[in-house]
């Protein structure tokens, strides 16, 4: 358990370093940022493995739950303003970002691992991303409000080349409060269910493809947003902070999984330019999430 806390802390510190490196004199130092990203990746792997270990304990229960609920919810997963409580939670656990995705993939650990390992080195992040979906499922334990962040997190996580996972974006708390309007009752029940470790549903490759291009742009932006949000949230309570850090980290994880380009964009002189528009792109289904993200878009543009 303490490994998880330590890993989480290290992830937060690493993100802070990457954030600060952008404003340092002399430009971004490639070497240092590469090392920081390696630490971030290692910490994330430990963090997620920890989660994963806990989740595996009641995988059976989770599987049953998922199979029962998921098919209903997946249609609603990314529908903005949806009043279904289940989709929120399921969406979060699911990682499926695409409405068009008909099938829910509920995979066992083994399958998950195999898939991750099969991909090769670039997929380290993806592995983590996959796991982060799993890990995010756990966050409700810390703060039950995490559930509604699924959609946004799904969006964010899809960026990875092969995997989707659904780390909740930062500010899950706000998102949770009014997930989709009339969720409250359902939210609770969902939360209860979420409290059970759930086998992460990893989106398979086929799921992701539809959304890749759309989401890719949003990811770097989100990462930056997450970073700034991360830093601004230092004063909040630990549970909230942890949760938000997790989501920040998860988003950033996908960045590192999919590309170093977010890091190097200023190094090479390229600036992500379509990010601002993507922040409001259709993948973000939850109204509340939209509201949360808008203030961030200015931060994004600033970058």
């Amino acid at each position: 358990m303490e490994y998880k806390v330590e890993a989480h802390r290290i992830m937060s510190i690493s993100l802070g370093k990457i954030y600060n490196s952008r404003v340092q004199r002399g430009g971004i130092k490639l070497h240092k940022n590469l090392l920081v990203s390696l630490v971030l990746r290692s910490a994330r792997q430990v963090y997620l493995r920890d989660y994963y270990g806990g989740i595996c304990l009641s995988a059976q229960q989770a599987r049953e739950w998922c199979e029962g609920e998921y098919m209903d919810s997946e249609q609603d997963k990314l529908v903005p303003g949806s009043t279904e409580s289940l989709p929120e939670s399921d969406g979060q656990s699911e990682v499926a970002v695409d409405k068009q995705e008909p099938s829910n993939v509920v995979e066992s650990h083994a399958a998950l691992d195999v898939e991750s390992e099969a991909s090769g080195e670039q997929d380290h992040a993806e592995n983590g991303v996959l796991d982060s979906g799993c890990s995010e499922l756990k966050t409700p334990e810390e703060s039950p409000e995490a559930s509604p962040t699924c959609e946004v997190s799904n969006v964010v996580t899809t960026i990875s080349s092969n995997c989707i996972s659904g780390p909740p974006p930062s500010n899950p708390k706000q998102a949770t409060e009014t997930p989709n309007g009339c969720q409250t009752d359902d939210g609770e029940s969902v939360e209860e269910k979420l409290h059970e470790p759930i086998v992460p549903h990893t989106c398979t490759n086929r799921k992701r493809s539809a959304d890749d291009s759309e989401l890719t742009d949003s990811l770097p932006k989100k990462t930056k947003v997450m970073s700034s949000t991360l830093i601004s949230k230092n004063d909040e309570k630990k549970a909230e902070t942890e949760e938000m850090d997790t989501s920040n980290v998860s988003s950033l994880i996908t960045i590192f999984g999919s590309s170093f380009s977010g890091l190097l964009s200023s190094e090479d002189g390229a600036q992500p330019d379509s990010e601002a528009e993507d922040s409001d792109s259709g993948q973000i289904c939850c109204d509340q999430m939209l509201k949360n993200l808008n203030p961030w878009s200015t931060a994004i543009v600033a970058f």
Binding site: G27, L30, H31, F260, D268
Partner: protein, 447 residues
């Protein structure tokens, strides 16, 4: 030449001089960023974060005091690099001098290469101690004489004047590096040199500034696949076709320029398998090599990573022949060192003249020497407290746990802001230059 000191051999290191402000309040521009003796050891150059180069010259040994080697006094100071702004990328280019390398002396003038993140400059340092006097058409102050007053002709003659040392930039090698230059190394052929940045190494001719050859390029086609960067590079001291470069993954590659124009395929790969018991979040960071130096003989090379110094035999790629722990007590503190950025400090290392002792820096203004022959090591401190002339430096000890003995320092009371990153050893004598943050200490052995 004698060894590290203590125990079986009798070198004792004494304080000789300290250069720099006594102020505790360190101006950023005064932070020393590189130290280098020239090939004879007569000149000692330092570069700082403000882009200045200061050269010290050793005074000739006084016959009155045979016990003392000559002191180093300021010989020349000049502004080598200025801050620049890259308008295309909206990035500021720091003027900090990353490396200075001397060229072997060919004539009366001295030449050195100094580099910041993007531009290398060749400087000529020459002395002027005579001036012509007795012009026919000009007065001594330069005003032209009225031609009608000129009645005789005379030949101007040279008269002695106060020594003036002039530094002039003879070549500027610019616009060849996209990433930050971390190393320069002059070839033994004295005609070419290499410059290395994070992803590429370029070969230059000292005479030609408008083009260079790219000899190593590890930039992946897709930057997302980047896993390692080049951290240091050096030419072999004797073989003009051979050079090595170290990476952030802890590997060293030796390349032979005769094999191909682009040396992406290494001739030798030096790598030590990682010890799995030491695995942590920070394993990759601490295995990143911060400096690589060939021995004077060319048979060995030394690498410095965060916690160790390793000596490699060029004939054996599988593992180093010697490994020295610099500050193993920091291994349990890696997390805090990561938080305060100390884990990214790039320590350098150096050989003594006959390759029997190696030296490197640590924290708390400590520096360490490892005697390869006697298998001894010593920790010394560069501080104002032990700065009385010719006072012998007392070996220091860091207490790693348990009861702290008298005179020992506990790990927790080490000052991590006082770090010695740059050290240099005189090529022939037992004289060392050790740079703390903004001071340069010169120590020599007790004669």
């Amino acid at each position: 030449m004698a060894g590290a000191g203590g125990g079986g051999n009798d070198v004792q290191w004494c304080f000789s001089q300290v250069k720099g402000a006594i102020d505790d309040d360190v101006a950023e521009a005064d932070i020393i960023s590189t130290v280098e003796f020239n090939h004879s050891g007569e000149l000692l150059a330092t570069g700082d974060k403000g882009g200045r180069v200061v050269i010290f010259q050793q005074e000739l040994e006084s016959k009155n005091q045979p016990q003392c080697r000559g002191e180093y006094n300021v010989y020349s100071t000049f502004q080598s690099h200025e801050p620049e702004f890259d308008y295309l990328k909206s990035l500021e280019i720091e003027e900090k001098i990353n490396k200075i390398r001397w060229l072997p002396q060919k004539n009366a003038a001295q030449f050195l290469l100094s580099t910041n993140d993007k531009t290398i400059k060749l400087w000529k340092i020459s002395e002027r101690d005579k001036r012509p006097e007795g012009y026919n058409l000009k007065e001594e102050d330069g005003r032209y004489r009225d031609p009608t007053t000129v009645t005789t002709l005379r030949v101007p003659v040279f008269h002695p004047m106060d020594l003036m040392v002039e530094a002039s930039p003879r070549r500027v090698f610019a616009n060849a590096h996209t990433y930050h230059i971390n190393s320069i190394s002059v070839n033994s052929d004295c005609e070419t040199y290499l410059s290395a940045d994070d992803l590429r190494i370029n070969l230059w001719n000292l005479e030609i500034t408008d083009r260079s050859f790219n000899i190593v390029d590890i930039k992946p086609a897709n930057m997302e696949e980047l896993t390692e960067v080049i951290t240091a590079a050096e030419f072999h001291p004797n073989q003009c076709n051979t050079f090595v470069y170290s990476s952030s993954k802890g590997t060293i590659r030796l390349c032979d320029m005769r094999a191909s124009a682009l040396c992406d395929q290494h001739s030798k790969l030096f790598e030590e398998p990682e010890d799995p018991s030491n695995r942590s979040f920070f394993s990759e960071i601490i295995s990143s090599i911060s400096d690589v130096k060939f021995s004077h003989s060319g048979r060995y090379m030394m690498t410095r990573d965060y916690l160790t110094v390793k000596i490699w035999d060029l004939n054996m790629e599988s593992r180093p022949v010697e490994t020295y722990q610099v500050h193993e007590y920091l291994r349990s503190k890696l997390c805090s060192l990561y938080e305060n950025d100390c884990i990214f400090d790039k320590f350098e290392c150096c050989w003594n003249g006959n390759d029997s002792v190696v030296m490197t820096g640590s924290y708390n203004n400590f520096f360490r020497m490892f005697d390869r022959g006697y298998r001894q090591d010593v920790t010394l401190e560069a501080s104002r407290e032990s700065s009385k002339p010719r006072s012998v430096l007392k070996p220091r000890k860091v207490c790693t746990g348990g009861k702290r003995k008298k005179d020992e320092i506990s790990v927790d009371s080490l000052d991590f802001n006082k770090k010695i990153l740059h050290t240099a050893w005189h090529p022939q004598d037992n004289i060392i230059a050790v740079a703390t943050t903004n001071n340069l200490y010169i120590f020599q052995d007790r004669l």
